[in-house]
Each structure stands twice: as structure tokens, then as C-alpha cells.
């Protein structure tokens, strides 16, 4: 059923595609190529020359316990952010789906966090949870809850997960809500007549029918947690304490721009690229097969 457009002028299609291809080339292929090139080099301490070292950089980082630890940190961080962001959004959307009055206002309000820059979100959460100035941290101390993300790695992880997930909830919410509203009302009514209560209707009818949305959001959220949480981590914990919140992306930055180890940083970027490609391919393959009911 695909409709093919034919052009009379042979150059026109290329001309039309040129802007997009140029953007992709300049902002993706060129830097990616640079990273790949850099990953085979080792510069001298003053950055004046570089020496070809083959796969030495890769061998080095893959045997570096700190790098492997960062892998584990990223896995934990990504799973938590994805799960929290999606679960909260699903819950809120399920509630909002039943709201009739004021739903427009509610939706607008809940979308706001998405418009907040990651660094600003990080600062805002710090104002609430930073042990010495945070408002919530103050009351937690009053209640006798031990909370110190500046010293405790787990607290720090919890903090960055919260802030990162909070920012993504609105995005997920919008998609879940749209998905739920696309479920035909008569299906819900049929299930109600078949004897299913609210809870059961949700898990046996609505949730399965949302699976395309859910899988789409899973990909988006994992990619988000991997790459777009840098700002949050940087403003809140700077990857610390210790290296408790140093994700792979943060480590690329820390090793390359702070540690000036460009070769290692480039090799890490290349590995990240591969990880993301594989992740995306697997997920989209799975989606293709699974979500068409």
C-alpha cells in the first residue's frame, strides 16, 4: 500500500534530503568518527601529540574495576529511574483517566516538570533534600531519619533516581494517558458486565492494551536514564560520594574533561554507542513482534 512518489528531476530528492543529512553528518557521524579515532590514540600529558595504541584503551578500561563498577551503577540507576518514572506515571494516568472535570488544568500542571532543565531540577531537589539546607532533609532529621546523600552512597543514588525519575514522569504520563483514552469505552464496559472490578479491568484489559505504549516508553526511559541525566547527577552529586553515582556517561565526562584522559574517555564513548545500539535494536525487534495484538 506504500505510495511511491517519483521525481522528474533526479537531483531534487537529494536536494530535499540534504539539510537533514548534513545535520546528521555534522552533529552525529563526525563526532562519532572522532570518538572512534580518538579511542585508538593516547595523547601525551600536555596534549601536544598522540600515539596510536590500537585497542590498548579498550583493554585498559575493560579491566579497570572502577569502570566495571560504573557499569553496575548505571544498570541499577537506569532500572530504578525507568521503573519509578513509569510506575508513577502509570498510576497517575490511571487516576487522571477517570477525571472529567478540570482534567485540562491537571494535565497542564503535571507536564510542567518536563519543561524544567535537568540542572535546574537537580538544584531544586537539592533545596529540598540537601542535608544542611534542604527543607525536607530538615524534617527528616527531626524525625530521626538518617539521611546524608553527601556521605552515604545509597542515599545519593536514591536522590539522583528521584530527581531523574521526577523529570520523566510527565512525559510518560502523557503517553500513558493518551494510550488509556484510546482504549474503547465499550471494552471496559464489556469487562464490567463480565464481572471484572476496577483493579481486574485495569490489569487484564487496559494494561495489556497499553503494551505498545509501555514498550515505547521503556526504550525512551532507558535511553533517557543513560544519557540525559548528566545534568541532574552533575548538579546534585557530581558522581559521588565515592563513585556511588558515577554512571557511564558521567564517567566519560569525568575521565575526559576532568581527568584529561581523552583516549580512555573516547573508548568509553564508543562502548556506550555500541551498548545503546544493541539495546535499541533488541527492544525494537521485540516490540515489532510483540505489541501488535
Amino acid at each position: 500500500m506504500e505510495k511511491r512518489v517519483s521525481f522528474n528531476n533526479r537531483a531534487l530528492p537529494y536536494l530535499l534530503l540534504f539539510p537533514q543529512l548534513a545535520v546528521t553528518a555534522v552533529f552525529f557521524f563526525w563526532p562519532a568518527g572522532q570518538a572512534l579515532y580518538q579511542s585508538f590514540l593516547r595523547p601525551d600529558p600536555f596534549g601536544l601529540s598522540a600515539r596510536f595504541v590500537g585497542l590498548e584503551n579498550f583493554r585498559y578500561i575493560l579491566t579497570d574495576p572502577l569502570y566495571l563498577q560504573s557499569f553496575a551503577t548505571t544498570a541499577i540507576f537506569t532500572s530504578l529511574v525507568t521503573f519509578v518514572a513509569m510506575a508513577v506515571a502509570l498510576f497517575l494516568a490511571a487516576m487522571a483517566d477517570q477525571v472529567i472535570k478540570g482534567s485540562g488544568v491537571y494535565r497542564t500542571l503535571i507536564v510542567w516538570p518536563y519543561a524544567v532543565a535537568p540542572a535546574v531540577a537537580g538544584v531544586m531537589w537539592m533545596f529540598m533534600l540537601q542535608p544542611s539546607i534542604g527543607v525536607i532533609a530538615f524534617y527528616m532529621k527531626q524525625l530521626g531519619i538518617t539521611w546524608n546523600p553527601l556521605l552515604d552512597g545509597q542515599d545519593a543514588m536514591l536522590l539522583v533516581v528521584l530527581a531523574s525519575a521526577w523529570k520523566q514522569v510527565s512525559y510518560n504520563f502523557l503517553f500513558f494517558l493518551a494510550g488509556m483514552q484510546a482504549v474503547p469505552r465499550s471494552l471496559i464496559e464489556a469487562a464490567a458486565i463480565d464481572g471484572a472490578g476496577r483493579w481486574r479491568r485495569f490489569w487484564t484489559i487496559i494494561f495489556p492494551l497499553l503494551s505498545p505504549t509501555t514498550f515505547f516508553l521503556l526504550v525512551i526511559n532507558i535511553v533517557y536514564a543513560f544519557f540525559e541525566t548528566f545534568g541532574v547527577i552533575h548538579t546534585m552529586t557530581s558522581g559521588g560520594p565515592g563513585r556511588a553515582t558515577t554512571t557511564l556517561v558521567y564517567k566519560v565526562y569525568a575521565d575526559g574533561f576532568v581527568g584529561q584522559d581523552l583516549g580512555s574517555s573516547a573508548a568509553q564513548s564508543v562502548i556506550l554507542m555500541v551498548v545503546v545500539s544493541v539495546l535499541t535494536v533488541i527492544q525494537f525487534r521485540y516490540i515489532e513482534r510483540r505489541v501488535h495484538y
Binding site: S186, L187, E189, A191, I193, A196, R200, L209
Partner: protein, 379 residues
């Protein structure tokens, strides 16, 4: 199996009342069809019985139990939706088994029931398929299967055939009727299609603007429509409606000044404005001298079995004189002809011009035969 009693049920959305007090008694095992144009409130009434809409006032009683406050699942009903509402992610088997699983039937019991229903509906070969792999008629049967397996007290049908093509609709109509008769479950069926209504119903409820205008057997509704609305809605082509003025014993004066005297009809008092209703099939060609109505033919539709002559009363060019006559298929009529017509004896209907209500209890159209149900409905 159960009887339903609907007592003065009303439905209000905001300040607008859409159902103005409908009462209806349904006997156990009866097939009731609610028919009316779109927006008349028929679906709303059905959804109130189902529990999908709240009841603003009045009561609905299913099997001796007032169900106003009960959830749909507590009402022991099954419903077939217009768009089938099959669960798209479940196989045909699971679609039918869903309600049974929730009700807590054993696996073996569920299987037995689903297989029995599948056999009844010729769905055995499709149990593993997903709804999207089925044709419209098959989906419709799955929807019915889902209703049948639960063996509910009442079947509710919400325009179940309107998404099917004409041929399949006729076939499914028969299947629904057969199915309902074989299981003997009380059924409430909503449609806007008068043929479906006439063929399926034990009794018809003709609704208009939130009011049940007439509740009676299909034949009684056809023969003695209670209002001009019912008269115009049931029957195709629609009944001819001619405004007239009663002139005492002389008969009725039509818009063109001619006097008609319907035989056997007790005539209303002189001066009263009435509507004379005659079905197209009750007009027959007559000789010039015996003619009661003179039709100036403007268009002829040849249907094979019948020929429809459209036109207007001579001397009345506005809408008041429009007339259709159903003539035998071999009738020789052409546009432009003057066609003398007579009303079949006893087949004229008289309605009050203002209220639209039928005049005289059995004024005309009534055959000696009257069914029990229609007699009791009128009492």
C-alpha cells in the same frame, strides 16, 4: 431467566431530561425490541438496565430484585455491543472464558461451557484465533458466545447488527432469534432498523424523544399505531398522512376541499382537525367514480414485486398532499398520470391533528384477531 420491570424510569443529563418516564413489564423469556430513531433514548434505556448509566429516577427490577444501585456485574446480565467490544489481545476462547474465570468456574467447567457455546455458534474452528483474524459475522458470533456462556438472566443487545452488511444482517437476525428461542433467556434488543424490530420482537417498544410511544406486538403496532409518530416510523414506505377537518357524518374534508368518508370509521365531531393516515399498501386503484383520492403521479419506482407511485393529491401542491401508493408490480402507471385511488375498507387511521394520538379505540385497521399480549398491554 427473569422478568424485568421498568417503572417510570427517567434519565437526566445536567438539566436536560432525555428519558421522560418509561414503564415496561417484560415477561420471562420474552424478546423485547426497543426501536426508534437515533437520539430517542433507546440506548440510554438499555444502558440503564445494564448498569452502565445511572438511573435518575424510577426503578428497574430484574427477577424481583431492584437493581438501581447494583454494579453491572451484580445484575446477572450479558450484553452484546454494536462494535462487538471483543478483547483484542485475547483469543476467541479467552474472550468467552473471561467472565467465567472471574466468576470462579473450574477449568473443566469453563471449557465445557465455552465448547458448548462455540458449537452452537459454529465457532469451534476459531477458538485459538484473535478477534482481528475473524470476519465481521464471526466477531458478532463471538460476542454472542460471550453472552451465552454465562447463562445470564437477561441478554441485552445494543444495535448488534448495524456494523454488518445487509446480507449478513438478515442471516444473523435469524441466528439471534433462533439462539434466544433455544436458550429461552429474556432479551432486550435495541435497534433503529424497523425490519429487525418487526422480525425479532415478541413485543415492540417504539420510542421517540424519550417516551415509549407504543408497547405492543409487532403486528398490533403496524395495524393500530398509537400515534402519528409510530404510524410514520413503522412501515415502509411510511404511512401517508393527510391533514383533514372532520365534517360530522359527511366524512373528512381534505386540504383540496374533497370529502372522504373512510368506511367503518367512527367519525370525530365536526370541526375537529385530524390527520388521516393510510398506508401505501392500503391504497388501491379504483374507477374514477369510486375514487376517494385523486393522485397526480410525479414519480414511479418499479421494485418488481411492487410499484410505488409517488405524487400528490390533485389540488394540493404543498407537502400536505404528498401521497405514495403501493401498487401491484405489473401496474401501468407513468409520471404525470392521474390515478384514482380508494382506501381499502377499514384501513384508514385517524389521529388528532394536535396531539398526534390515535382517535377511537379500535377505530380502524383492527382485524378481528387480537393477540393476548396486545390485549393485556392495552388493558
Amino acid at each position: 431467566m427473569s422478568a424485568i420491570a421498568i417503572r417510570d424510569v427517567r434519565k437526566t443529563y445536567g438539566k436536560t431530561e432525555v428519558i421522560h418516564g418509561v414503564s415496561l413489564d417484560i415477561e420471562d423469556g420474552e424478546f423485547i425490541v426497543i426501536v426508534g430513531p437515533s437520539g430517542c433514548g433507546k440506548s440510554t434505556l438499555l444502558r440503564m438496565v445494564a448498569g452502565l448509566e445511572t438511573i435518575t429516577a424510577g426503578t428497574i427490577d430484574i427477577g424481583g430484585r431492584v437493581v438501581n444501585q447494583l454494579e453491572p456485574r451484580e445484575r446477572d446480565i450479558a450484553m452484546v455491543f454494536q462494535n462487538y467490544a471483543l478483547y483484542p489481545h485475547m483469543s476467541v476462547y479467552n474472550n468467552m472464558a473471561y467472565g467465567l474465570k472471574i466468576a470462579g468456574f473450574s477449568k473443566a467447567d469453563i471449557q465445557a461451557r465455552v465448547e458448548k457455546a462455540a458449537a452452537m455458534l459454529q465457532l469451534q474452528d476459531f477458538l485459538d484465533r484473535k478477534p482481528r483474524q475473524l470476519s465481521g459475522g464471526q466477531r458478532q458470533r463471538v460476542a454472542m458466545g460471550r453472552a451465552v456462556v454465562r447463562d445470564p438472566a437477561v441478554f441485552l443487545f445494543d444495535e448488534p447488527l448495524s456494523n454488518l452488511d445487509a446480507k449478513l444482517r438478515v442471516q444473523m437476525r435469524l441466528e439471534i432469534k433462533r439462539l434466544q428461542q433455544s436458550v429461552g433467556t429474556t432479551a432486550l434488543y435495541v435497534t433503529h432498523d424497523q425490519v429487525e424490530a418487526m422480525t425479532l420482537a415478541d413485543r415492540l417498544v417504539v420510542m421517540h424523544d424519550g417516551i415509549a410511544e407504543q408497547i405492543d406486538t409487532p403486528l398490533a403496532v403496524y395495524e393500530r399505531p398509537a400515534t402519528t409518530f409510530v404510524a410514520g416510523f413503522i412501515g415502509s414506505p411510511a404511512m401517508n398522512m393527510l391533514p383533514a377537518e372532520a365534517c360530522g357524518a359527511d366524512g373528512l374534508k381534505l386540504a383540496n376541499g374533497e370529502i372522504v368518508k373512510p368506511s367503518e370509521a367512527p367519525l370525530p365531531e365536526a370541526g375537529r382537525q385530524v390527520t388521516l393516515g393510510v398506508r401505501p399498501e392500503h391504497l388501491e386503484p379504483a374507477s374514477e367514480s369510486a375514487a376517494e383520492l385523486m393522485l397526480e403521479v410525479s414519480a414511479v419506482e418499479t421494485l418488481g414485486a411492487d410499484t410505488l407511485a409517488h405524487g400528490h393529491l390533485i389540488g394540493v401542491s404543498n407537502g400536505d398532499g404528498e401521497l405514495v401508493a403501493r401498487l401491484p408490480g405489473n401496474a401501468k402507471v407513468n409520471a404525470g398520470d392521474r390515478l384514482p385511488l380508494a382506501i381499502e375498507p377499514g384501513m384508514a387511521h385517524l389521529f388528532d391533528a394536535e396531539s398526534g394520538k390515535r382517535l377511537g379505540k379500535d377505530a380502524s385497521g383492527a382485524r378481528p384477531f387480537r393477540s393476548k399480549a396486545s390485549a393485556s398491554a392495552e388493558a
